[in-house]
Protein backbone atom coordinates (compact mmCIF):
# COMPACT_ATOMS: atom_id res chain seq x y z
CA UNK A 1 0.00 0.00 0.00
CA UNK A 2 2.75 2.47 0.92
CA UNK A 3 4.48 1.57 -2.28
CA UNK A 4 1.28 2.25 -4.16
CA UNK A 5 0.97 5.68 -2.51
CA UNK A 6 4.54 6.43 -3.46
CA UNK A 7 3.76 5.77 -7.11
CA UNK A 8 0.68 7.93 -6.79
CA UNK A 9 2.80 10.86 -5.57
CA UNK A 10 5.21 10.45 -8.47
CA UNK A 11 2.22 10.35 -10.80
CA UNK A 12 0.82 13.50 -9.24
CA UNK A 13 4.05 15.33 -10.05
CA UNK A 14 3.67 14.53 -13.74
CA UNK A 15 0.00 15.21 -13.30
CA UNK A 16 0.74 18.73 -12.09
CA UNK A 17 2.47 19.47 -15.38
CA UNK A 18 -0.45 17.99 -17.35
CA UNK A 19 -2.96 19.85 -15.20
CA UNK A 20 -1.23 23.18 -15.81
CA UNK A 21 -1.15 22.55 -19.54
CA UNK A 22 -4.76 21.38 -19.62
CA UNK A 23 -5.79 24.48 -17.69
CA UNK A 24 -4.02 26.62 -20.27
CA UNK A 25 -5.89 24.87 -23.10
CA UNK A 26 -9.28 25.06 -21.44
CA UNK A 27 -8.79 28.67 -20.45
CA UNK A 28 -8.13 29.76 -24.03
CA UNK A 29 -10.98 27.60 -25.26
CA UNK A 30 -13.48 28.86 -22.71
CA UNK A 31 -12.50 32.48 -23.08
CA UNK A 32 -12.10 32.72 -26.84
CA UNK A 33 -13.60 29.57 -28.32
CA UNK A 34 -10.31 28.52 -29.89
CA UNK A 35 -8.58 25.16 -29.61
CA UNK A 36 -4.91 26.06 -29.50
CA UNK A 37 -2.79 23.31 -31.00
CA UNK A 38 0.38 25.32 -30.39
CA UNK A 39 0.00 25.24 -26.61
CA UNK A 40 2.70 22.62 -26.02
CA UNK A 41 5.11 24.40 -28.38
CA UNK A 42 4.48 27.67 -26.60
CA UNK A 43 5.53 25.94 -23.38
CA UNK A 44 8.57 24.46 -25.09
CA UNK A 45 9.65 27.82 -26.47
CA UNK A 46 9.29 29.45 -23.09
CA UNK A 47 11.36 26.69 -21.51
CA UNK A 48 14.21 27.50 -23.89
CA UNK A 49 13.90 31.14 -22.91
CA UNK A 50 14.16 30.17 -19.24
CA UNK A 51 17.19 28.02 -20.06
CA UNK A 52 18.84 31.00 -21.81
CA UNK A 53 18.10 33.34 -18.95
CA UNK A 54 19.75 30.96 -16.50
CA UNK A 55 22.68 29.75 -18.58
CA UNK A 56 23.49 32.79 -20.71
CA UNK A 57 22.40 35.62 -18.52
CA UNK A 58 23.22 34.08 -15.18
CA UNK A 59 19.88 34.71 -13.57
CA UNK A 60 18.92 32.72 -10.49
CA UNK A 61 16.38 29.99 -11.17
CA UNK A 62 13.32 31.62 -9.64
CA UNK A 63 14.05 35.03 -11.15
CA UNK A 64 14.30 33.34 -14.53
CA UNK A 65 11.13 31.40 -13.79
CA UNK A 66 9.00 34.48 -13.14
CA UNK A 67 10.66 36.53 -15.87
CA UNK A 68 9.89 33.74 -18.35
CA UNK A 69 6.27 33.68 -17.24
CA UNK A 70 6.09 37.42 -17.85
CA UNK A 71 7.72 37.09 -21.28
CA UNK A 72 5.34 34.23 -22.10
CA UNK A 73 2.37 36.34 -21.03
CA UNK A 74 3.41 39.18 -23.32
CA UNK A 75 4.25 36.74 -26.11
CA UNK A 76 0.87 35.03 -25.80
CA UNK A 77 -0.95 38.35 -25.93
CA UNK A 78 1.14 39.35 -28.94
CA UNK A 79 0.31 36.10 -30.72
CA UNK A 80 -3.35 36.89 -30.26
CA UNK A 81 -2.98 40.45 -31.51
CA UNK A 82 -0.79 39.64 -34.50
CA UNK A 83 -1.87 36.18 -35.64
CA UNK A 84 -5.25 35.24 -34.23
CA UNK A 85 -7.19 38.49 -34.08
CA UNK A 86 -6.97 39.26 -37.80
CA UNK A 87 -8.31 35.75 -38.49
CA UNK A 88 -11.10 35.69 -35.94
CA UNK A 89 -13.69 36.79 -38.46
CA UNK A 90 -12.84 33.80 -40.59
CA UNK A 91 -14.02 30.25 -39.99
CA UNK A 92 -12.99 28.19 -36.98
CA UNK A 93 -10.95 26.00 -39.29
CA UNK A 94 -8.87 29.00 -40.34
CA UNK A 95 -7.94 29.72 -36.75
CA UNK A 96 -7.20 26.06 -36.05
CA UNK A 97 -4.89 25.99 -39.07
CA UNK A 98 -3.20 29.12 -37.79
CA UNK A 99 -2.46 27.51 -34.43
CA UNK A 100 -1.07 24.45 -36.21
CA UNK A 101 1.10 26.77 -38.33
CA UNK A 102 2.22 28.41 -35.11
CA UNK A 103 3.15 25.00 -33.73
CA UNK A 104 5.42 24.29 -36.69
CA UNK A 105 6.91 27.77 -36.68
CA UNK A 106 7.75 27.72 -32.97
CA UNK A 107 9.23 24.25 -33.33
CA UNK A 108 11.43 25.37 -36.23
CA UNK A 109 12.41 28.62 -34.56
CA UNK A 110 13.48 26.88 -31.38
CA UNK A 111 15.65 24.45 -33.36
CA UNK A 112 17.20 27.33 -35.26
CA UNK A 113 17.89 29.58 -32.27
CA UNK A 114 19.01 27.03 -29.74
CA UNK A 115 20.96 24.64 -31.94
CA UNK A 116 20.26 20.96 -32.05
CA UNK A 117 22.04 19.73 -28.95
CA UNK A 118 20.06 18.66 -25.93
CA UNK A 119 19.81 21.04 -22.97
CA UNK A 120 19.14 20.48 -19.33
CA UNK A 121 17.65 22.60 -16.64
CA UNK A 122 18.58 22.18 -13.01
CA UNK A 123 15.94 21.11 -10.57
CA UNK A 124 15.24 23.96 -8.16
CA UNK A 125 14.21 21.58 -5.42
CA UNK A 126 16.71 19.61 -3.32
CA UNK A 127 17.22 15.95 -4.02
CA UNK A 128 15.89 14.80 -0.69
CA UNK A 129 13.21 12.48 0.48
CA UNK A 130 10.54 12.93 3.09
CA UNK A 131 9.01 10.11 5.07
CA UNK A 132 5.37 10.63 5.74
CA UNK A 133 3.71 7.70 7.47
CA UNK A 134 5.99 5.21 5.82
CA UNK A 135 5.52 6.73 2.37
CA UNK A 136 8.75 7.97 0.88
CA UNK A 137 8.24 11.16 -1.05
CA UNK A 138 10.73 12.93 -3.23
CA UNK A 139 10.97 16.66 -2.47
CA UNK A 140 11.42 17.34 -6.17
CA UNK A 141 8.09 15.70 -6.92
CA UNK A 142 6.42 17.59 -4.11
CA UNK A 143 7.91 20.82 -5.46
CA UNK A 144 6.42 20.26 -8.91
CA UNK A 145 3.06 19.39 -7.38
CA UNK A 146 3.25 22.49 -5.20
CA UNK A 147 4.17 24.92 -7.96
CA UNK A 148 1.50 23.58 -10.30
CA UNK A 149 -1.08 23.83 -7.53
CA UNK A 150 -0.06 27.44 -6.92
CA UNK A 151 -0.55 28.19 -10.63
CA UNK A 152 -3.95 26.54 -10.58
CA UNK A 153 -5.04 28.36 -7.43
CA UNK A 154 -3.89 31.71 -8.83
CA UNK A 155 -5.99 31.18 -11.94
CA UNK A 156 -9.03 30.30 -9.85
CA UNK A 157 -8.52 33.32 -7.59
CA UNK A 158 -8.19 35.49 -10.68
CA UNK A 159 -11.59 34.34 -11.92
CA UNK A 160 -13.19 34.52 -8.52
CA UNK A 161 -11.98 37.81 -7.19
CA UNK A 162 -10.83 40.17 -9.91
CA UNK A 163 -12.98 42.37 -12.09
CA UNK A 164 -10.88 41.36 -15.10
CA UNK A 165 -11.49 37.71 -14.23
CA UNK A 166 -15.25 38.21 -14.06
CA UNK A 167 -15.17 40.12 -17.31
CA UNK A 168 -13.31 37.20 -18.90
CA UNK A 169 -15.82 34.71 -17.52
CA UNK A 170 -18.67 36.94 -18.69
CA UNK A 171 -17.14 37.18 -22.15
CA UNK A 172 -16.79 33.40 -22.26
CA UNK A 173 -20.50 33.03 -21.61
CA UNK A 174 -21.81 35.76 -23.83
CA UNK A 175 -19.38 37.71 -25.95
CA UNK A 176 -21.93 40.13 -27.30
CA UNK A 177 -23.57 40.88 -23.97
CA UNK A 178 -20.12 41.54 -22.51
CA UNK A 179 -19.36 44.02 -25.29
CA UNK A 180 -22.71 45.69 -24.67
CA UNK A 181 -21.77 46.50 -21.08
CA UNK A 182 -18.50 47.93 -22.36
CA UNK A 183 -16.11 45.02 -21.82
CA UNK A 184 -13.23 45.39 -24.26
CA UNK A 185 -13.52 41.92 -25.78
CA UNK A 186 -10.34 41.92 -27.91
CA UNK A 187 -8.29 42.95 -24.87
CA UNK A 188 -9.90 40.22 -22.77
CA UNK A 189 -8.91 37.71 -25.47
CA UNK A 190 -5.33 38.96 -25.43
CA UNK A 191 -5.17 38.59 -21.66
CA UNK A 192 -6.57 35.06 -21.95
CA UNK A 193 -3.86 34.17 -24.47
CA UNK A 194 -1.29 35.74 -22.19
CA UNK A 195 -2.35 33.80 -19.10
CA UNK A 196 -2.58 30.63 -21.12
CA UNK A 197 0.93 31.11 -22.50
CA UNK A 198 2.27 31.80 -19.01
CA UNK A 199 0.67 28.58 -17.73
CA UNK A 200 2.20 26.63 -20.59
CA UNK A 201 5.56 28.19 -19.74
CA UNK A 202 5.23 27.12 -16.11
CA UNK A 203 4.38 23.59 -17.23
CA UNK A 204 7.38 23.48 -19.56
CA UNK A 205 9.84 24.72 -16.96
CA UNK A 206 8.51 22.31 -14.34
CA UNK A 207 8.84 19.48 -16.78
CA UNK A 208 12.34 20.39 -17.95
CA UNK A 209 14.34 18.76 -15.13
CA UNK A 210 12.42 15.50 -15.63
CA UNK A 211 13.18 15.25 -19.34
CA UNK A 212 15.62 17.00 -21.67
CA UNK A 213 14.84 20.33 -23.31
CA UNK A 214 14.49 19.81 -27.03
CA UNK A 215 12.28 21.46 -29.62
CA UNK A 216 10.26 18.26 -29.55
CA UNK A 217 9.30 18.46 -25.91
CA UNK A 218 6.25 20.31 -27.19
CA UNK A 219 4.58 16.94 -27.80
CA UNK A 220 3.77 17.08 -24.10
CA UNK A 221 0.94 19.29 -25.35
CA UNK A 222 -0.84 16.08 -26.35
CA UNK A 223 -0.95 15.03 -22.71
CA UNK A 224 -2.46 18.39 -21.92
CA UNK A 225 -5.12 17.73 -24.54
CA UNK A 226 -5.92 14.31 -23.12
CA UNK A 227 -6.22 15.75 -19.62
CA UNK A 228 -8.42 18.58 -20.88
CA UNK A 229 -10.65 16.22 -22.86
CA UNK A 230 -10.98 13.84 -19.89
CA UNK A 231 -12.05 16.81 -17.79
CA UNK A 232 -14.62 17.89 -20.35
CA UNK A 233 -12.70 20.61 -22.21
CA UNK A 234 -15.03 23.26 -20.90
CA UNK A 235 -14.47 22.97 -17.19
CA UNK A 236 -11.44 24.52 -15.52
CA UNK A 237 -11.51 22.29 -12.47
CA UNK A 238 -12.22 19.35 -14.76
CA UNK A 239 -9.00 20.10 -16.63
CA UNK A 240 -7.01 20.21 -13.40
CA UNK A 241 -8.46 16.98 -12.05
CA UNK A 242 -8.07 15.39 -15.49
CA UNK A 243 -4.41 16.38 -15.45
CA UNK A 244 -3.62 14.89 -12.06
CA UNK A 245 -5.67 11.79 -12.84
CA UNK A 246 -3.80 11.28 -16.10
CA UNK A 247 -0.46 11.59 -14.33
CA UNK A 248 -1.41 9.01 -11.73
CA UNK A 249 -2.98 6.53 -14.15
CA UNK A 250 0.01 6.83 -16.45
CA UNK A 251 2.51 6.23 -13.69
CA UNK A 252 0.65 3.33 -12.14
CA UNK A 253 0.29 1.72 -15.55
CA UNK A 254 4.01 2.19 -16.11
CA UNK A 255 4.91 0.59 -12.80
CA UNK A 256 2.41 -2.23 -12.52
CA UNK A 257 2.00 -3.18 -16.15
CA UNK A 258 4.97 -2.04 -18.19
CA UNK A 259 6.56 1.30 -18.88
CA UNK A 260 6.20 0.62 -22.58
CA UNK A 261 2.51 0.14 -21.98
CA UNK A 262 1.98 3.56 -20.38
CA UNK A 263 0.61 5.34 -23.41
CA UNK A 264 -1.61 2.43 -24.36
CA UNK A 265 -3.27 2.63 -20.96
CA UNK A 266 -3.54 6.42 -21.03
CA UNK A 267 -5.20 6.52 -24.40
CA UNK A 268 -7.33 3.52 -23.44
CA UNK A 269 -8.58 5.43 -20.42
CA UNK A 270 -9.26 8.43 -22.63
CA UNK A 271 -11.36 6.36 -25.01
CA UNK A 272 -13.19 4.71 -22.12
CA UNK A 273 -14.03 8.11 -20.62
CA UNK A 274 -15.26 9.38 -23.96
CA UNK A 275 -17.46 6.32 -24.50
CA UNK A 276 -18.94 6.34 -21.01
CA UNK A 277 -19.15 10.11 -20.59
CA UNK A 278 -18.88 11.77 -24.00
CA UNK A 279 -18.82 15.21 -22.41
CA UNK A 280 -15.84 14.27 -20.27
CA UNK A 281 -15.79 13.80 -16.52
CA UNK A 282 -16.85 17.32 -15.66
CA UNK A 283 -18.07 18.72 -18.95
CA UNK A 284 -21.55 19.81 -19.73
CA UNK A 285 -22.98 18.28 -22.87
CA UNK A 286 -22.96 20.59 -25.84
CA UNK A 287 -25.69 22.97 -24.87
CA UNK A 288 -25.08 26.00 -26.94
CA UNK A 289 -27.40 28.92 -26.68
CA UNK A 290 -27.77 31.08 -29.75
Amino acid sequence: MTEFLQFVVVGLANGGVYATLALALVLIHRATGIVNFAQGEMGMFATFIAWSLINHHGLPYWVAFFLTLLIAFLGGAAVHEVVIRPLERGSELTVVMATIALLVILNGLAGWIWAPEVKFLENPFPLKVLHVGGVVMNVQDLGVIGVSLVCVVLVFLFFRFTRLGWAMWATAQNKEAAALVGVNVPRIFSVAWGISAALAAAAGILLAPLIAITPDMGVIGIKGFIAAIMGGYSSLHGAVIGGFLLGVVENLAGVYISSGFKDVVTFGVLIAVLILRPAGLFGTAGTHRV
Binding site: R163, W166, A167, W169, A170, Q173, N174, E176, A177, A178, A179, L180, V181, G182, V183, N184, V185, R289
Partner: protein, 236 residues
Amino acid sequence: MPLLMLEDVEARYGPIKALHGVSLSVEEGQAVSLLGANGAGKTTTLRAISGTVRKGGEITFAGRRLGRRSPEAIARLGIAHVPEGRGIYGELTVWENVLLGGSVRRDRRAIKRDAEQALEHFPRIASRRRQQAGTLSGGEQQMLALARALVSRPRLLMLDEPSLGLAPTAVQELYRVVRLLNQEEGLTVLVVEQNARIALASTQHAYVLEVGRVALQGESEELSRHEGVRASYLGY
Protein backbone atom coordinates in the same frame (compact mmCIF):
# COMPACT_ATOMS: atom_id res chain seq x y z
CA MET B 1 -30.94 68.56 -30.99
CA PRO B 2 -32.21 65.09 -30.08
CA LEU B 3 -30.04 62.85 -27.92
CA LEU B 4 -30.27 60.05 -30.48
CA MET B 5 -30.91 60.47 -34.15
CA LEU B 6 -31.09 57.84 -36.88
CA GLU B 7 -31.04 59.02 -40.46
CA ASP B 8 -31.80 56.60 -43.22
CA VAL B 9 -30.21 53.69 -41.38
CA GLU B 10 -29.84 50.47 -43.32
CA ALA B 11 -28.65 47.09 -42.11
CA ARG B 12 -28.38 43.65 -43.58
CA TYR B 13 -27.68 40.11 -42.47
CA GLY B 14 -25.71 38.70 -45.36
CA PRO B 15 -27.85 39.09 -48.45
CA ILE B 16 -31.01 39.88 -46.49
CA LYS B 17 -31.73 43.51 -45.91
CA ALA B 18 -33.37 44.05 -42.53
CA LEU B 19 -33.56 47.85 -42.43
CA HIS B 20 -34.47 49.89 -45.49
CA GLY B 21 -33.70 53.37 -44.25
CA VAL B 22 -35.01 53.92 -40.73
CA SER B 23 -35.12 57.49 -39.47
CA LEU B 24 -36.13 58.30 -35.94
CA SER B 25 -35.07 60.46 -33.04
CA VAL B 26 -35.20 60.30 -29.29
CA GLU B 27 -35.11 63.45 -27.19
CA GLU B 28 -33.18 63.65 -23.95
CA GLY B 29 -35.42 62.54 -21.09
CA GLN B 30 -37.96 60.96 -23.40
CA ALA B 31 -39.29 57.41 -23.33
CA VAL B 32 -39.90 56.03 -26.81
CA SER B 33 -41.41 52.72 -27.94
CA LEU B 34 -40.48 50.92 -31.09
CA LEU B 35 -43.34 48.67 -32.15
CA GLY B 36 -43.95 46.36 -35.06
CA ALA B 37 -44.58 42.78 -36.08
CA ASN B 38 -41.97 40.03 -36.01
CA GLY B 39 -39.28 40.72 -38.57
CA ALA B 40 -40.14 44.40 -38.89
CA GLY B 41 -36.61 45.34 -37.88
CA LYS B 42 -37.09 46.46 -34.28
CA THR B 43 -34.27 44.40 -32.83
CA THR B 44 -32.03 45.20 -35.78
CA THR B 45 -32.59 48.90 -35.18
CA LEU B 46 -31.31 48.54 -31.61
CA ARG B 47 -28.42 46.42 -32.83
CA ALA B 48 -27.51 49.07 -35.39
CA ILE B 49 -27.41 51.65 -32.61
CA SER B 50 -25.29 49.54 -30.26
CA GLY B 51 -22.96 48.53 -33.08
CA THR B 52 -23.67 44.80 -33.02
CA VAL B 53 -24.72 44.75 -36.67
CA ARG B 54 -23.11 46.44 -39.64
CA LYS B 55 -25.05 49.48 -40.75
CA GLY B 56 -25.31 52.18 -43.35
CA GLY B 57 -26.75 55.64 -42.95
CA GLU B 58 -26.03 57.91 -40.05
CA ILE B 59 -26.55 57.52 -36.33
CA THR B 60 -25.77 60.44 -34.04
CA PHE B 61 -25.70 60.17 -30.28
CA ALA B 62 -25.16 63.22 -28.07
CA GLY B 63 -23.81 65.08 -31.10
CA ARG B 64 -21.33 62.33 -32.03
CA ARG B 65 -21.50 60.12 -35.10
CA LEU B 66 -21.40 56.47 -34.17
CA GLY B 67 -20.04 55.38 -37.55
CA ARG B 68 -18.13 52.10 -37.30
CA ARG B 69 -17.43 52.28 -33.57
CA SER B 70 -17.23 48.93 -31.78
CA PRO B 71 -20.02 47.86 -29.40
CA GLU B 72 -17.79 48.46 -26.37
CA ALA B 73 -16.90 51.94 -27.61
CA ILE B 74 -20.58 52.73 -28.09
CA ALA B 75 -21.39 51.39 -24.63
CA ARG B 76 -18.72 53.71 -23.27
CA LEU B 77 -20.48 56.68 -24.86
CA GLY B 78 -23.42 56.01 -22.55
CA ILE B 79 -25.73 53.66 -24.44
CA ALA B 80 -26.86 50.64 -22.45
CA HIS B 81 -28.42 47.93 -24.58
CA VAL B 82 -30.27 45.14 -22.78
CA PRO B 83 -30.52 42.59 -25.58
CA GLU B 84 -33.35 40.22 -26.26
CA GLY B 85 -32.81 37.17 -24.09
CA ARG B 86 -31.22 39.47 -21.50
CA GLY B 87 -27.61 38.42 -21.98
CA ILE B 88 -26.96 37.79 -18.32
CA TYR B 89 -23.93 35.74 -17.28
CA GLY B 90 -25.48 32.58 -15.89
CA GLU B 91 -22.41 31.24 -14.13
CA LEU B 92 -21.64 34.46 -12.29
CA THR B 93 -23.53 35.58 -9.21
CA VAL B 94 -26.20 38.26 -9.24
CA TRP B 95 -23.80 40.69 -7.59
CA GLU B 96 -20.96 40.00 -10.05
CA ASN B 97 -23.38 40.50 -12.94
CA VAL B 98 -24.47 43.85 -11.61
CA LEU B 99 -20.92 45.04 -10.94
CA LEU B 100 -19.87 44.13 -14.47
CA GLY B 101 -22.34 46.75 -15.65
CA GLY B 102 -19.73 49.20 -14.43
CA SER B 103 -17.09 47.95 -16.90
CA VAL B 104 -17.44 51.16 -18.91
CA ARG B 105 -16.71 53.40 -15.96
CA ARG B 106 -13.49 54.81 -14.62
CA ASP B 107 -14.73 55.84 -11.17
CA ARG B 108 -14.36 52.39 -9.66
CA ARG B 109 -15.36 53.40 -6.15
CA ALA B 110 -18.81 54.66 -7.04
CA ILE B 111 -19.69 51.46 -8.90
CA LYS B 112 -20.51 49.47 -5.77
CA ARG B 113 -22.74 52.23 -4.48
CA ASP B 114 -24.56 52.43 -7.79
CA ALA B 115 -24.87 48.65 -7.88
CA GLU B 116 -26.55 48.74 -4.48
CA GLN B 117 -28.88 51.46 -5.71
CA ALA B 118 -29.72 49.62 -8.89
CA LEU B 119 -30.60 46.49 -6.92
CA GLU B 120 -32.82 48.48 -4.57
CA HIS B 121 -35.28 48.85 -7.43
CA PHE B 122 -35.71 45.09 -7.42
CA PRO B 123 -36.12 43.66 -3.93
CA ARG B 124 -36.75 40.22 -5.41
CA ILE B 125 -33.18 39.89 -6.60
CA ALA B 126 -31.48 42.23 -4.14
CA SER B 127 -31.86 39.65 -1.39
CA ARG B 128 -30.22 36.97 -3.52
CA ARG B 129 -27.05 38.62 -4.64
CA ARG B 130 -24.88 35.56 -3.99
CA GLN B 131 -27.07 33.30 -6.07
CA GLN B 132 -25.90 32.13 -9.49
CA ALA B 133 -27.66 34.30 -12.03
CA GLY B 134 -28.55 31.33 -14.23
CA THR B 135 -30.83 29.96 -11.49
CA LEU B 136 -33.07 33.04 -11.43
CA SER B 137 -36.49 32.97 -13.08
CA GLY B 138 -37.00 34.69 -16.41
CA GLY B 139 -38.49 37.78 -14.82
CA GLU B 140 -35.71 38.01 -12.27
CA GLN B 141 -33.10 37.67 -15.00
CA GLN B 142 -34.72 40.52 -16.88
CA MET B 143 -34.62 42.62 -13.72
CA LEU B 144 -30.99 41.73 -13.25
CA ALA B 145 -30.21 42.73 -16.83
CA LEU B 146 -31.92 46.06 -16.24
CA ALA B 147 -30.11 46.62 -12.94
CA ARG B 148 -26.80 45.81 -14.63
CA ALA B 149 -27.52 48.31 -17.39
CA LEU B 150 -28.20 51.00 -14.81
CA VAL B 151 -24.79 50.55 -13.21
CA SER B 152 -23.20 51.81 -16.42
CA ARG B 153 -24.98 55.13 -15.71
CA PRO B 154 -26.33 55.26 -19.24
CA ARG B 155 -27.61 58.38 -20.95
CA LEU B 156 -29.77 56.12 -23.09
CA LEU B 157 -31.28 52.83 -21.97
CA MET B 158 -32.35 50.48 -24.75
CA LEU B 159 -34.52 47.50 -23.86
CA ASP B 160 -35.27 44.75 -26.34
CA GLU B 161 -38.57 43.01 -25.63
CA PRO B 162 -38.23 43.05 -21.86
CA SER B 163 -41.68 41.50 -21.44
CA LEU B 164 -40.92 38.46 -23.61
CA GLY B 165 -41.84 35.26 -21.81
CA LEU B 166 -42.47 36.91 -18.46
CA ALA B 167 -45.38 36.44 -16.10
CA PRO B 168 -47.82 39.38 -16.15
CA THR B 169 -46.85 40.50 -12.63
CA ALA B 170 -43.17 40.51 -13.58
CA VAL B 171 -43.98 42.61 -16.65
CA GLN B 172 -45.83 45.10 -14.46
CA GLU B 173 -43.02 45.30 -11.96
CA LEU B 174 -40.41 45.78 -14.65
CA TYR B 175 -42.30 48.57 -16.37
CA ARG B 176 -43.04 50.23 -13.07
CA VAL B 177 -39.29 50.64 -12.67
CA VAL B 178 -38.82 51.75 -16.28
CA ARG B 179 -41.44 54.47 -15.80
CA LEU B 180 -39.89 55.52 -12.52
CA LEU B 181 -36.44 55.80 -14.07
CA ASN B 182 -37.79 57.80 -16.95
CA GLN B 183 -40.26 60.07 -15.18
CA GLU B 184 -38.50 60.66 -11.90
CA GLU B 185 -34.85 60.28 -12.75
CA GLY B 186 -35.10 61.63 -16.27
CA LEU B 187 -33.46 58.62 -17.94
CA THR B 188 -33.92 58.45 -21.70
CA VAL B 189 -35.43 55.12 -22.74
CA LEU B 190 -35.89 53.40 -26.08
CA VAL B 191 -37.89 50.21 -25.74
CA VAL B 192 -38.70 47.58 -28.35
CA GLU B 193 -41.88 45.69 -27.54
CA GLN B 194 -44.36 43.14 -28.85
CA ASN B 195 -46.57 44.01 -25.92
CA ALA B 196 -47.75 47.29 -27.43
CA ARG B 197 -50.24 47.99 -24.68
CA ILE B 198 -47.72 48.29 -21.87
CA ALA B 199 -45.13 49.96 -24.07
CA LEU B 200 -47.54 52.68 -25.17
CA ALA B 201 -48.70 53.17 -21.60
CA SER B 202 -45.10 53.63 -20.42
CA THR B 203 -43.71 55.93 -23.09
CA GLN B 204 -44.44 59.35 -24.50
CA HIS B 205 -43.61 58.75 -28.12
CA ALA B 206 -43.78 55.70 -30.38
CA TYR B 207 -42.63 54.50 -33.76
CA VAL B 208 -44.19 51.64 -35.67
CA LEU B 209 -41.86 49.72 -37.98
CA GLU B 210 -43.04 47.73 -40.96
CA VAL B 211 -40.63 45.71 -43.09
CA GLY B 212 -37.60 47.74 -42.14
CA ARG B 213 -39.16 51.19 -42.40
CA VAL B 214 -40.95 53.58 -40.09
CA ALA B 215 -44.60 53.26 -41.07
CA LEU B 216 -46.12 55.40 -38.38
CA GLN B 217 -45.10 57.59 -35.51
CA GLY B 218 -46.67 59.85 -32.97
CA GLU B 219 -47.50 60.45 -29.34
CA SER B 220 -47.96 57.12 -27.57
CA GLU B 221 -51.37 58.13 -26.33
CA GLU B 222 -52.47 59.10 -29.80
CA LEU B 223 -51.16 55.90 -31.31
CA SER B 224 -52.99 53.78 -28.78
CA ARG B 225 -56.21 55.23 -30.21
CA HIS B 226 -55.06 54.84 -33.83
CA GLU B 227 -57.27 52.36 -35.60
CA GLY B 228 -54.53 50.51 -37.49
CA VAL B 229 -52.38 50.20 -34.39
CA ARG B 230 -55.33 49.01 -32.35
CA ALA B 231 -56.24 46.38 -34.91
CA SER B 232 -52.68 45.20 -35.53
CA TYR B 233 -50.97 45.45 -32.18
CA LEU B 234 -53.49 45.98 -29.44
CA GLY B 235 -56.04 43.45 -30.62
CA TYR B 236 -59.27 45.27 -30.12
